[in-house]
């Protein structure tokens, strides 16, 4: 077995004196789709921020392709190919759809291929092409999420961190979003996906980690997760 693309080892982190993550270890193999589930307010987003360099680690290490990325600045981590699609989209609301996408291609290497990436993203998310000139704040919730995903794809990263892609969307739109995620997986994109709703990830995830109160309390394949429904019920309330 080759070394995992992303390796999180005994990570602890938090805000101020408040510790949020306790001894978290997790691996994402190249080409895999790993899911992090768990109740709200238990550190999933903090872990994503820690990987992206927005939250400092108090101990532990995060490695990408065997190289430590923890302690680096947020923009350097993006340049290394770790791209986050943040919770709640955080779009550039006064910019057009296309300018938002172009911002996704900000790193120099990505900027050189921005034209090609735009074509790829428009092919994957044709809705965005129809709305390319529209200001982001006027999009519908589903379109915003699409734009947020499209923007994340523009950097051609090695690893996509997707934080709660179903948050606040109608069930029908969530299905569309998960179709896109399945598409990305089929293309060989490596993904670390945060999801609160465990049933959503059964069809797509290779591996599932359950994060509770800042600790990984269970891990296994999606099938094992189905078999151990009682464990999940304890943590997620069914």
């Amino acid at each position: 077995m080759t070394a995992p693309l992303l390796e999180i080892r005994n990570v602890e982190a938090g805000y101020g004196g408040q510790k949020v993550l306790r001894d978290v270890s997790l691996e994402v193999p190249a080409g895999g789709l790993v899911t992090l589930i768990g109740p709200n307010g238990h550190g999933k987003t903090t872990l994503m921020h820690a990987i992206s360099g927005l939250v400092r680690l108090t101990s532990g290490e995060i490695r990408l392709e065997g190289q430590a990325i923890s302690g680096r600045k947020a923009h350097q981590i993006v340049e290394k190919g770790v791209v986050q699609i943040p919770q709640g989209d955080i779009l550039f609301t006064d910019m057009s759809v296309q300018d938002n996408l172009m911002m996704g291609a900000y790193p120099k290497a990505a900027y050189a291929n921005a034209g090609e990436s735009l074509e790829t993203v428009y092919k994957l998310l044709p809705r965005l092409e129809e709305r390319r000139g529209q200001i982001a704040s006027t999009l519908s919730g589903g379109e915003r999420r699409m734009l947020s995903i499209g923007r994340g794809l523009m950097a051609n990263g090695k690893l996509l961190l997707i934080d709660e892609p179903s948050l606040g969307l109608a069930p029908l739109v969530i299905d569309q979003i998960y179709e896109v995620i399945a598409d990305l997986k089929a293309r060989g994109t490596t993904i670390l996906l945060v999801e609160e709703n465990a049933s959503r990830v059964i069809g797509v995830a290779d591996k599932v980690y359950l994060l509770d109160d800042g600790r990984i309390v269970w891990q296994g394949s999606a099938d094992e997760m189905e078999e151990n429904a009682d464990i999940l019920e304890t943590y997620l309330g069914g």
Binding site: V78, P86, I90, F92, G104, S137, T138, G141, R151, A155
Partner: protein
């Protein structure tokens, strides 16, 4: 008819000058939500540097202007690196930065006064002469200011709309966190914004000093007016600031002709009050459309 034309010439000249210093103020507000109280001193600095470059160092007119704008840019950059950046990591840094920029402005003004004295000096870059349209005298200097400002604004608009750097500046002003997640080195963008604002202030200062004279306190009045224009336009809205600058320039010229110079500033303040009562976010301010 002649009066109208006279007001137009005078108003456009004022507007062009205000536009540049307002945009410079607006850029910094947009990026950091902070007012740059050293704006007036940066403007004054630009005027004096151009004077020194031309009279003291014997550079030609174009080189003196470029030298002054570059010096303004460097000073803006220095201000960011030495002062503003040191305060950014604390909660509520905005107030600290505003007060620190007051300090920077005061020191800069005092230094200019020490070097050049408090007495007004004529700006040697002023272009003499003019032409008549009907019975209205149009100074060449005004024409140059209006066109120079227009060219600068077009260049700036292109920078903001088309380039990677300009897009990143807009992105940072809309969401610092998202920009960070896109790989934007936010500190570098802030530094670029301060350099750009410094350069624009210097350009505005040169223009101003050709209309009035060089004096250590010459930046105050235009800085106040730039604040007013920013507020009327909606803080942080660069394009809106541009329109508002010309509107208020024309308005000021109108008041000066119709009621007298001393009423101009009061008249502008009256406009601010009316606009803010009517539209609290400013004429072109973002009315947030939040759709979930």
């Amino acid at each position: 008819m002649d009066t109208t034309f006279q007001i137009l010439v005078s108003g456009l000249t004022l507007g062009a000058m205000y536009a540049i210093s307002t945009v410079s103020l607006s850029l910094i507000w947009g990026a950091l939500n902070v007012l740059n109280m050293a704006q007036g001193a940066l403007l004054t600095f630009g005027g004096y540097v151009a004077y020194v470059a031309f009279s003291g160092m014997g550079l030609g007119v174009p080189l003196s202007i470029i030298f002054s704008v570059a010096a303004g840019g460097l000073l803006g950059l220095f201000m960011y690196v030495a002062v503003v950046r040191q305060m950014l990591n604390r909660e509520g840094f905005e107030v600290n930065v505003i007060i620190a920029t007051v300090g920077v402005g005061t020191v800069l003004e005092a230094m200019l006064q020490k070097f050049f004295g408090a007495y007004p000096i004529r700006q040697p870059l002023t272009v003499e002469g003019g032409f008549f349209v009907g019975s209205t005298h149009v100074p060449f200097n005004s024409v140059i200011i209006v066109f120079g400002s227009a060219i600068l604004m077009v260049l700036l608009a292109m920078l903001m709309a088309r380039t990677r750097m300009g897009r990143a500046m807009r992105a940072v002003s809309q969401s610092r966190d998202a920009a960070r997640l896109m790989g934007v080195p936010v500190n570098l963008v802030y530094a670029q914004v301060f350099a750009l604002a410094g350069g624009l202030s210097a350009a505005s200062g040169i223009m101003l000093s050709t209309i009035t004279t060089l004096a250590p306190t010459m930046g105050y009045d235009p800085m106040l007016k730039a604040f007013i224009i920013c507020v009327v336009a909606g803080l942080g809205n660069v394009m809106g600031a541009l329109y508002a600058a010309f509107m208020l320039g024309l308005f000021e010229a109108f008041i000066q002709f119709a009621f007298g110079v001393r009423y101009a500033f009061a008249g502008m303040l009256l406009v601010v009050i009316i606009v803010l009562v009517w539209k609290p976010n400013g004429l072109f301010g973002r009315t947030k459309v939040n759709r979930l």
